[in-house]
Amino acid sequence: MAMSAEVREGFLCPMCMKDLGTVTMLQDHFEEEHSSEDKDVLQQLRGLLGKAKKKILGEKDSSDMFDTSSSSMSSSTYAVSNLSVTGYDPSVWDPQEIGFVRSRTDMFKSQRGARVDRYVVETNKLIIRLDKLTSSDAPVESSKRRAFEKSVVQWAPDSSVKTCQFCKRNFTLTRRRHHCRLCGDIMCDKCSQFLPHTFAKKLTDPAFQLQSDVDVGFLKRSDSNASLNSILGPEGDPHIRTCANCRKLLERRNDQMEQRNYKPAIVLLYEKMKMCVDNTEDLLREYLPMVESLSAGESIHSLQKAQMYRVKITKLYETIDGLSKKILNLGLNSEEEPQAKQLQLQRAIRLYASNFMQDNMLGLQSLPSEEQYKMLQERRTQEIQQRIAAERLAAIEAQEREKRLQEAKEGGHKNTPSSVKVTEERPRSGSKKLTSWMPSESNINFSDRDDPMIQQMNIIRGYIKQARQAQKFDEVNMLEQNLKELQQEYLRQQRQNWS
C-alpha cells in the first residue's frame, strides 16, 4: 500500500545523516563532530519553528506580500479580515471517549463452538483409542490382536454396508471389507490409511520429542505397498489402519499442536529483541530523571549508578541493533530466498528497531564526567549558600525594621500590632533555577505577631520539611546549619534584650 515510503534506517547521525553502524560509533561521532556547534544549530532550528508558529498564529502584518515574478497581486487587495481564525487546532474541543463499539465475538463463538466442540470431542476419543492400541501391553500376535482391537472400539458389522463409503465400489471376494481401528467403520483396502506408531506416539504423548527432523505422519501409499495390510510397515515400523475421516481429524490436531509449539527463527529473535526494547524503556524511565538531576548538580542520585545505567542501556541498544540486523538478514544467504512479504516484514522490523533507537538516543549523550559533576555540585552548593545568605540578610533586615518600629511605637502608640509582610522581603532569586520543589507559602504557618526572627526560622523549618520530602538531603543539611545559626543569633539577641 501507499504507506510504505522508503525511509533511511540505521544509526544515522541526526545532524549529518551519516550512518555510523553502531551506537558506540555514533556516540563517538556525535561527541567529536557535533558536541557543541550542532546543538546550537538544533536550538536555532527549534527557535525558528517557534518563531514561524508565532508568526502564523499571532498578529500578521497584512501588508506582507508574497511577490513572485509571475503573480502580481497587490498588497492592498490581498488582506484577510478575520486573521484570528486560522490554523488547525484539534485541542479546541474536549477530549472524547472512543466511539461506539459492538462485540460480535460471543455470537461468533457460539456459532463456531457447536461444530468445533464436536471435532474436539471426536478427536479426543480417537486419541484415547490410539493410546490403548499403541500401549506396550497391547497384544501383538494376530490371534489376540483382533479381539483386543474390537474391545477398543466396536467394529461395524460386515452386513451393514455393501459398498465402500469412500470409493463407492461394491465389496467382493477380492475387494474385501476392512475396519478402521479407531472408529470401527468399514472401507476397502485401497481407501485405508496407515498410521505409524511413531506418529501415534507424537499425538498421544505431549512430552514426546522426535529424535530428528524426520517427517512423521500417515504412510504415503505407493503401488509397492498398496496391499500393505500387515502390522509392520516397510521400515518395520508398526502402524494402524484407519479411515480417511479419522486421518483428517488427527492431522488437524497435529497441525494445531505443531503451530502451538513451533517457533520459527524470526519469532525467537523478535521476542528477544522486543524484550530488550521493553527493558530499555524501563531503564530509560529511571535514567532520564537521573541525568537531569545530575546535570543540575544535585546529589539525589549517584553518578556511578547513572553511569551504570548508561552502560546497560548502551549494551541493550547494541543487542537490539544486532538482533534486528539478524532479523533483517534472515535467510538471505540460504538456497531458498525468503518470499517477498517475509523480506518486507524483516525490513519493517529493522526499521522499527532503528526508529526506536534514534528516538531514544537523545537521553544518552549528556551525562557529566566526574570533574564536570564536581564542578556542577560546587556551583550548586554555592548557589544554595547564596540563597540562604540572602534569606538571612532579609531576616536581619526585617528584624532591624521591627526593632525600629518597636522603638517608634514605644515613642507613640503602644498597642498597634505589627504586620510585616515577610513575603515581599524574602529574596527568592536563584532558588527558581535550582529546585524542582518550590517553597510554597501555604505550608508555612506563622502568626503576624511573631518576631521576624522567629518567622524566618519558621520559614526555614518549612523549607527543611519540603526539602526532606523532596529528598534533597544536601539542602536539608545546609538549611539546618542555617537554622542553627539563626537560633543562636536569636538567643543572643534575646539575652541582650533581657539584660
Binding site: 472524547q96 461444530r115 516484514l345
Partner: protein
Amino acid sequence: MNVIVAIKQYISKMIEESGPGMKVLLMDKETTSIVSMVYAQSEILQKEVYLFERIDSSGRETMKHLKCIAFLRPTRENVEYLAQELRMPKYGLYYIYFSNVISKQEVKVLAEADDQEVVREVQEFFGDYIAVNPHLFTLNIPMCCQALNWSPGSLTRTVEGLTSVLLSLKKCPMIRYQNSSEMARRLAENVRQIINREAALFEFRKTDVAPVLLILDRRDDAVTPLLNQWTYQAMVHELLGINNNRINLSNVPGISKDLQEVVLSAEHDEFYANNMYNNFGEIGTNIKDLMEEFQNKSKSQAKVESIADMKAFIENYPQFKKMSGTVSKHVTVVGELSRLVGKHNLLEISETEQELACQGDHSACLQRIKALLSNEKTQQLDMLRLVMLYSLRYESHSNNDIAGLLEVLRKKGVSDKLRHMVHGVLEYGGRKARGSDLFGTQDAVAFTKRFFKGLKGVENVYTQHKPYMHSVVDQLIKGKLKEGAFPYLGTSQLKERPQDVIVFMIGGCTYEEAFAVHTLNRTNPGIRVVLGGTTVLNLKTLVLTPSST
C-alpha cells in the same frame, strides 16, 4: 466531535486488543484510505504492525507467526474473501473488525469457515468514513446523483457512512433536512430508519441539548464549487487535486523524483496544520520568513527572493533538505500554485468570479467575461467556470447572453460535451432546483446586508464570497433557521439552540465550506460543527456530477 480522533481511537484500540507480537493489518480498498488518512506508517510501525495487506490481493504469503488485524467494510465480497481466508488461514490468529453493522447471517458464515479456531475477536467499530480534518469527513462517492436522484447503491453507502459518523461520535441526533430536495428527504428518512431499527446501538447518555443532523443538497448552491480558491487547502484541491491527503505533482515541470507525490496531512505536518486556512499570500510569506531566518543563521549571503531562489537554496543544503522535508515540500507546492496562477491568469479570473457570485452588475460582468474568454492565458476549464457562474447568476435576467457566451466557447474550441455542462449546471443548480435565495436578490434583509458590505469596502476581492451553507448553519446555531425550508423529521423539535451539529452535503462539500465551518467553530465557543459530504468537490469533480443527468 473530532472525526480524526474518533477514527484514530478505533484503530489504536484494534491494535491494542491483539496484544504484543508481530502484526499484519488486513484491509480493503476503502478501509486502507480510512486508516492512511489518520496514521502515518512510522506511527503504526511503533505499535508492531509491520505489514499492510489488501484482502483482495492474491499474492499474500502464509505467515503463521503474524497476528492478523482485519479491518474491513462489511460488504458481501469482503465476507466471502474472509470466509475463504479462514478456511485456509495464512496468519496465526485473527482479530476481525467491521466498519459497520454485520448481520447474524454473515457472522454465521464466518464462524462456519473457522474450523481451525483462528478467530479471537469479531467486532463492529464504526469507522466507516474518511476523516479529512477534525471537523470534516467524506465518503468518497464521486457521483451520488443520477437523473437528479440517488444513483444506485450510493444512498445505501451514504446512510451507512452517516450512521457510522453518528455512532463513532456517540450522537443520536434530531434530523433536519432541506425541504426543496427530494434526495435530502430520502436520506433523512433512511437515516431515521436505521436509528429506529438498530435502537440498541443508539442508546447514548442523553445530553442536555440534543445534537442536530442537518442534511443539505449541493443543488441549493452550485456556485461555491465553481469558484477559484485562495486558502491553502482549498487552493491545492482546486488547482492540483487532493486525494486522500495525497497530491500528484508528477506534471510539475522539472519535479524531482521524491516529490512526484506528496502527502499533506495536518496530523503529521506542522506547517500544513498551521497554514491550511491561511491565504496564498500569507503562506508564501511564512515560507519565505522561515527560509530567510534559517539562511541568516547559516551565515549564507545569497538572498532568497523568489520561489526559484528558495528552491535553489534548498537544493544546496542537502542536510537541511532532509531535516525539513516539509519545507521543501511546501515550497514546491506553493511554487507550483504560483506558477499556475500566473500562467492561467487566475487572479483576474477569480476577481470576476467573485463579482459574479457576490454583487456584480450585469453588463460589466458580461464584458469582463468576454474579455477573459478571448485572453490567451485563460484555459478551457476556467472559461467553462465563468460561463457556468454567469448562467447561474443571470439565468432569469431578461438581457442575459448565455447563448452568445456558449457561441464564444464553441469558437474557442470547447467541446460539445463541456458546453452541454452549462445547461447541465442550470438544470442541476438553477433557479428551479433551488429552495433558497442563493444570490440574495429577493430578500430585503439580505439585500441591505450586501449593500452595507459594499459600503465597508471590499477587504479582499478574492475572498468576498461566503458559501451559502455558512449562513444556513449560522442561522441554525442561532436558533433562527426557518422550519418551512428546513423541517424536522418527525414530531419532536429542539427548543434550545443546538450545540452539536453535523452538517451533511449531498453532492459533495468544498474546502471553502470546511474553512467556513472551522470559522464558525472558532467564533462560537461551546458550539461544535462537523461537516461532511458524499465527496469533497473541486470544479473537475462537479463537472462530472451533473453530466450524469
